[in-house]
């Protein structure tokens, strides 16, 4: 009789792996919200934090937590070459990782700044790729942080004629776009 009861319990949907993953990311989202609100409060910055879970464009990637901060005069939160924003994102990610026990992909944004920057970078990548195809000569982009170079690489990863790679040392590492070798 006891055995039967246990079987019934096991077959309830809450024990599936998928739901566990959903629970974890939802827990991480809540924690990201609390951590950022706490950090901004202690930095004396009056701002609102909205967090949501974004499904990946590519099935191979994991969902990410997007935290958007809004308020008045928040350019100080971006900083030169988005240094402050990156620090805020890094510290928040580390705190999440320490509390949850695994690394959770997190993007911290200020009023859609990263989103707009990402769109610009995607356009830049496609425009430069066209130039490379037309001239046959490789192009080296301005130095960019890793998350921005990643956008360039991702945008062109299925491009039929060009390929990308990063060269140089941080903080002067640059994305390079060049023709695919013909085989």
């Amino acid at each position: 009789m006891e055995g039967q009861a246990a079987e019934v319990k096991l077959s309830t949907p809450t024990s599936s792996y998928l739901d566990d993953a959903d629970d974890n990311i939802e827990k991480a989202r809540q924690m990201a919200y609390e951590t950022l609100t706490e950090l901004l409060g202690k930095m004396n910055i009056d701002a609102k934090v909205v967090t949501r879970i974004v499904d990946p464009e590519d099935d191979k990637d994991r969902p990410i937590i997007l935290a958007d901060i809004s308020g008045k005069d928040l350019s100080i939160l971006i900083g030169r070459k988005s240094e402050t924003l990156n620090s805020l994102q890094y510290v928040t990610s580390l705190i999440l990782c320490n509390q949850i026990g695994e690394w959770v992909p997190l993007m911290v944004d200020v009023q859609g700044y990263r989103y707009r920057r990402e769109r610009q970078l995607r356009q830049l990548a496609r425009r430069i790729a066209d130039q490379v195809v037309q001239t046959g000569r490789k192009q080296v982009l301005e130095p960019m942080p890793a998350n921005e170079r990643r956008i360039i690489h991702l945008e062109l990863r299925y491009h039929p004629f060009v390929t990308t790679e990063s060269t140089g040392e941080e903080p002067n590492r640059r994305a390079t776009i060049f023709l695919k070798p013909r085989d």
């Binding site: 900083g79 402050t84 510290v91 705190i95």
Partner: protein, 77 residues
């Protein structure tokens, strides 16, 4: 300023009971000294100082809100 560093440090270390933060002010300069357990030094400093530098960046912004400058020293116990 102290609360910011204390919150970050306590959230990152294994042993929060060993976190202590001392804040001293000279004119417009705020000096923060952070002490953590020896085993937690790596978590606070990070590879190539990346974690400590990120904390410094946030601290600088917080201090600038009050028209001040701030520095952070991580001290080995």
């Amino acid at each position: 300023m102290k609360e910011l560093v204390e919150y970050i440090a306590k959230s990152l270390v294994e042993d929060p009971t060993q976190v202590s933060v001392v804040e001293t002010e000279e004119g417009d300069h705020i000096r923060i000294e952070l002490t953590v357990a020896k085993e937690d030094m790596g978590r606070i400093i990070g590879k190539g100082g990346r974690v400590a530098n990120s904390i410094r960046t946030l601290l600088r912004v917080a201090a600038a809100r009050e028209g001040k400058r701030a520095s952070l020293d991580v001290i080995e116990p």
